[in-house]
């Protein structure tokens, strides 16, 4: 009667042991990496809006101030999505007749708002306040990226808690003069040591503190 197992089973046995170890570690490691990818965070996902509003035209070409549409960014928690009326301000009736404006027309006639898709979504237990960040000298660009280069607005930052913390622990590098709040590409243009010392001055001027208490954001 031959042995229970053939010669080559030795190799198989050790191979499979190795495989088990590798797979288990691999799965855990893989998950940890995956949640950090943009697939998981929704970064740079292209989101279609009911109206093909192009920030490149409005923010870049026409140089319209962000606050013209996002009017409440300096007063309230939410930056504010413009009321349909705001479009009509510039887009006269002739313009309104074109196909892309159909939702706008519908909204005006039905008095129902345009259902924009949310791009930068935070969980409901996170209370983010635009006004205070703006007041403390954190620019739009810092979190929203080069909106003036986006045909469709996309989420520029991971919006993970770790990401928030990185700035809340050390806000100074992300400060800029309030006058430059809406400026695009400002950070890239201000990287000299002089700018760094300027930022430190701003920190004192604006009374910027590192806030890492939980209830700063969770209430």
């Amino acid at each position: 009667m031959p042995a229970l197992f053939p010669r080559w089973s030795n190799t198989v046995a050790r191979g499979s042991l190795l495989a088990i170890v590798v797979i288990v570690c691999g799965v855990i490691l893989g998950l940890m990496l995956w949640v950090r990818t943009s697939y998981a965070t929704g970064q740079h996902a292209s989101i279609a809006q009911p109206v093909p509003f192009d920030h490149r035209i409005h923010a870049h070409a026409l140089q319209i101030d962000c606050r013209y549409c996002h009017a409440t960014v300096e007063q309230t928690a939410s930056a504010g999505v413009p009321p349909t009326a705001a479009c009509v301000g510039c887009h006269n009736s002739v313009w309104l007749q074109s196909a892309p404006f159909a939702p706008v027309r519908a909204s005006l006639s039905s008095l129902r708002p345009i259902a924009w898709q949310r791009v930068n979504a935070l969980p409901d237990f996170v209370f983010f306040d635009h006004s205070i960040h703006v007041a403390k000298g954190v620019g739009c660009e810092t979190c929203h990226g080069r909106v003036d280069r986006m045909a469709r607005v996309e989420q520029a930052a991971p919006l993970s808690m770790g990401w928030c913390l990185s700035c809340h622990r050390n806000p100074t590098p992300n400060l800029r003069p309030r006058s430059e709040i809406v400026a695009m590409g400002w950070d890239a243009a201000h990287t000299s040591p002089a700018d760094d010392s300027a930022r430190i001055r701003l920190q004192h001027e604006y009374g910027v503190r590192s806030l890492t208490s939980c209830t700063t954001c969770h209430r």
Binding site: T76, P83, R112, F125, F127, S131, K136, G207, L211
Partner: protein, 932 residues
């Protein structure tokens, strides 16, 4: 409709809320967990400066209970009212609000409200009903002079209503108007009401009067009462309150001396007191304490006061007037004014007259406006069946309740937050009632019905027009400015009611009933009043003052009586008198009068209100007659039993006395002995660093147990501000109450005294809950808050075990799962709605703190401790709760905290709470030793 708005700028502001509901719900943060659905952003269609998303807006309005208005400020988010607060400018509020007012915002969103008009069982538009109510149409029924037309209205003090009712009478000269509410009884139609000035009364004797928590104007009285017993220094003056009552009331708990007497002894006490006051120390058969009180009253000529409860018959209240005359109180601390209720320009009749008319088949058309007479009348009166017999009966009300069931047609009435109107406070001050939202359902306001009846409109009239018209009519000078001013301040310039002489009634000289075994006393419920608020979960779940009973009523009896009847809490007893009988569970209350059973009205509802149905027992079934305060009764033990939903199962402090108490004299003798017991404990760890007050404010709270009357306003205020769910009777019975603020009650062992201790998270600097949490879901903030991070909590519940105050509450189930869309709208968008399986607890209203900080940051200034008021503090009628920062020594909070009588709960554990209590000081009369 939108174009239409522009005619009415003030109303336009708060219209489009249903349209916004979607966005609002999304903002409210209904899901505590991190799974995120694709969300829509719904901006406004047209820009409106006064309605900025994310900023709460505040509007002044007024709510009437039994016709007496309390001025309120209502917070509104994206067009949906979420929070009620008192209006400091209003005499009946002085900034405070009672449980009923605070909870009324939930009633607005009540899914059980009547949603559409009907005739018979057929759903119709209001206009259809209105057509039949036009004078022409109606005369064919009720005769040319309208003799067949009878209106039964709930008490109202609205000038507009009175005007329109007058015009109804012009259209139907012989029509009759009746005004009824069970709590006012026939008093509703009295020409005069008695006013008190508590602020200037140093000695107060309250006889069967809960003037601090249920009487009209109680918020004002409570504030004035508390202001005279703040004791900033031990040597400060302090007023003195004697309470003589059968049922232990909030007022009783605030008393310096309380005497429990049987209802029928009230007359005796009054007569004794009268004699003693008049005859000085002349010999009477009265017990010593009567004489002592009399001396005290006389010693404070003109600065003393005797209050006899409104529920007592006029003949008995007349005795009180006599005493007040004798002690020089009349004209100084008490006086009479004309009643603020309608009836001065239109004749209003008593309910009895209507019943008579219905009996005599004289009623063709009966229209009931508000109230709920089919339920809230003595069953013996048979109102329900009489109403059914009326050929054409209609009901305008919030709910399809018992009365609606008896009415041929029904029209939903607008909630006061949905309609325009006006109302007088108890002292006659007029306020404009302005709506916060468009009616949720196709409902109308009484003025619109009156206008229809008067023929001034064919049902199309809107109360806004009617009000503006009437306003312009009665305002001399610039009506517009006066109008906008009235809207902003919440009160108008109108003069209060004029003083009148006391009504001449002859004091009764016979006791109502002699030598009976048991008596029953009927009381307005401190939570749901006469039953009109029975469908309000916040009120039903609010532990009743002193009894701590939720979701229902009980027959309250004294320990001695319980022993005599051989019953204990929950045993069903049967009260019967002749044909009338009532079965309900007994509840033993120390300090209750012996051989007396107290029963509260408002329970045992059978209407379409789902939350109210079958909760408690219906006292109206036993009530002998309108206005009856008490009667002789036989009490038997049925042997059945029922578990009561008690929020607190222990009645005394079990020898631990968590509340520090002392008499004023003892406190003055040695102030330090009353306050803090030291609480240093040894630790393996180095001494914790004192919190850094340079970088941040250090939040703290001080609660004065001397002025706390246990009314529960703080509890409801907190529930409303912090999205605390309603969990129902069975969960309360399971000990799963969710209220972050709980007014704990400790009876003295002899029942003579009851101490109240509002218990909330103490925000300990060495918090025991924090170091046992495995995931750091509860940690300390740099400004000294004990933070609870719902979204980090995994629900080990270790924190609750280690919390010596047991102020943490756990979401055993998903308590928000089955809320209707409207109920979701009452949620505060600035507070996370907690999901199943997480802990929650008082946060010191951290959302308000952070908003204040952000606001300060926007303005580039440092936040101040005084920028923030917590919800409980705001609601408190007696200002017993103050909040602020340890870094501001001059603040009221710190000044109180530094009083010698301040102490920390369970200080010996070394938890270093940020909440401090002020010991309960009673201004005892040294001459009296036998409080009972």
């Amino acid at each position: 409709m939108h174009a239409h708005d522009h005619d009415h700028p003030p109303e336009l502001n708060r219209r489009d809320f249903l349209r916004l509901a979607g966005a609002s719900v999304a903002l409210a943060g209904l899901d505590g967990c991190s799974r995120m659905p694709a969300e829509h952003i719904l901006p406004y269609v047209d820009s409106r400066p006064e309605l900025t998303p994310g900023i709460g807006s505040y509007y002044a309005t007024a709510m009437s209970v039994d016709g007496y208005a309390t001025g309120l400020i209502v917070e509104s988010h994206e067009g949906r009212p979420t929070k009620i607060e008192g209006n400091p400018a209003h005499p009946a509020s002085l900034g405070a609000a009672g449980p009923i007012e605070l909870a009324s915002v939930l009633q607005l969103y009540d899914p059980d409200r009547g949603k559409s008009a009907r005739v018979g069982s057929e759903q119709v538009q209001w206009e259809r009903v209105a057509a039949n109510l036009a004078p022409a149409a109606l005369r064919s029924r009720v005769g040319g002079r309208g003799s067949g037309l009878h209106l039964l209205i709930e008490p109202t003090s609205s000038l507009l209503d009175e005007e329109l009712l007058a015009s109804v009478l012009t259209a139907h000269p012989d029509a009759r108007i009746y005004m009824y509410s069970p709590m006012l009884g026939d008093g509703a139609t009295d020409a005069a009401v008695q006013q008190y000035d508590i602020a200037n009364a140093d000695v107060i004797v309250a006889i069967d009067s809960d003037f601090l928590s249920t009487a009209p104007f109680h918020l004002r009285y409570a504030r004035q009462f508390a202001d005279n017993r703040r004791l900033a220094r031990p040597t400060d003056a302090m007023n003195r309150l004697y309470v003589v009552e059968s049922t232990f009331s909030s007022t009783g708990s605030a008393a310096d001396h309380r005497f429990a007497v049987r209802p029928r002894e009230v007359t005796t006490v009054l007569r004794w007191l009268l004699t003693s006051v008049i005859n000085g120390d002349a010999k009477t058969e009265a017990p010593a304490w009567i004489a002592a009180i009399a001396r005290d009253l006389r010693a404070h000529q003109g600065r003393s006061l005797v209050i006899v409860g409104d529920a007592q018959p006029a003949s008995i209240r007349a005795l009180g007037d006599a005493i007040n005359d004798a002690i020089g109180a009349s004209g100084k601390t008490t006086w009479y004014t004309t009643s603020p209720l309608v009836g001065h320009h239109v004749p209003v009749h008593k309910l009895a007259d209507l019943v008579g008319a219905m009996d005599a088949r004289e009623v063709d058309t009966l229209i009931v406006i508000g109230g709920n007479p089919s339920y809230a009348t003595p069953r013996a009166l048979g109102f329900s069946s009489l109403m059914r017999a009326v050929p054409n009966s209609g009901y305008l009300g919030l709910y399809e309740n018992e009365t609606a069931r008896d009415a041929r047609w029904f029209v939903p009435m607008s909630h006061y937050l949905e309609r325009w109107g006006d109302a007088r406070a108890y002292d006659g001050t007029v306020s404009i009632v302005q709506p916060l939202v468009n009616p949720l359902y196709r409902s109308i306001a009484p003025p619109e019905l009156y206008a229809t009846l008067a023929g001034t409109s064919n049902g199309g009239a809107r109360s806004y027009d009617l009000l503006r018209a009437s306003w312009t009519r009665r305002t001399s000078g610039d009506a517009e400015t006066a109008w906008s001013d009235a809207l902003q301040r919440g009160v108008t310039a109108d003069a209060p009611m004029s003083r009148v002489a006391a009504p001449t009634t002859f004091p009764s000289d016979t006791n109502p009933f002699e030598g009976t075994a048991f008596e029953v006393i009927y009381l307005a419920d401190p939570k749901i009043h006469d039953g009109s608020f029975a469908n309000n979960g916040w009120l039903q779940e609010l532990p009743a003052p002193l009894t701590q009973l939720t979701w229902g009523n009980a027959g309250l009896i004294s320990p001695a009586t319980a022993h005599r009847l051989n019953v204990s809490d929950g045993d069903i007893i049967k009260l019967s008198s002749g044909q009338r009988a009532l079965e309900l569970p007994a509840l033993v209350v120390p300090g209750h009068a012996d051989d007396t059973v107290s029963v509260h009205f408002g329970y045992g509802r059978t209407g379409s209100e789902s939350a109210a149905r079958d909760v408690g027992a219906d006292a109206y079934a036993l009530w002998p007659a309108v206005g009856a305060r008490s009667e002789a009764i036989t009490v038997t033990r049925t042997g059945a039993a029922q578990a009561l939903a008690l929020a607190q199962t222990q009645s005394t402090g079990a020898g631990r006395d968590p509340v520090h108490r002392a008499t004023l004299d003892a406190y003055r003798a040695s102030p330090s002995s009353v306050g803090q017991r030291s609480g240093r404990v040894l630790s393996l760890y180095p001494e914790a660093k004192p919190p850094d007050s340079n970088t941040a404010l250090q939040w703290a709270m001080t609660i004065d147990l001397t002025t706390c009357i246990g009314c529960g306003a703080c509890v409801v205020g907190c529930q409303s501000e912090n999205n605390i769910p309603v969990i129902g009777a069975s969960e309360v019975r399971n000990g799963r109450s969710m209220q972050w603020m709980h007014v704990e009650r400790y009876f003295a062992d002899n029942g003579a005294d009851a101490a109240m201790q509002p218990m909330l998270c103490q925000h300990c600097e060495n918090a025991p809950c924090e170091y046992v949490c495995p995931v750091g879901a509860t940690v300390h903030s740099s400004d000294g808050l004990n933070e609870m991070v719902y979204n980090r909590c995994v629900g080990t519940r270790f924190c609750s075990n280690n919390c010596p105050y047991k102020v943490r509450h756990f979401n055993w189930f998903d308590y928000n799962k089955h809320l209707s869309e409207t109920e979701l709208m009452v949620k505060n968008p600035n507070v996370t709605v907690r999901e199943r399986g997480v802990m929650e607890k008082c946060t010191f209203c951290v959302q308000r703190i952070r908003e204040a900080e952000i606001a300060a940051g926007r303005d580039g200034r440092a936040p101040r401790g005084t920028d923030v008021q917590t919800a409980c503090q705001q609601a408190c009628p007696t200002n017993a709760i103050v909040f602020g920062s340890l870094t501001e020594p001059s603040s009221e909070m710190m000044r109180r905290r530094n009083q010698p009588r301040s102490f920390a709960a369970l200080a010996e554990l070394g938890t270093e709470p940020r909440v401090r209590y002020l010991a309960r000081i009673r201004n005892a009369n040294p001459e009296i030793h036998d409080s009972r």
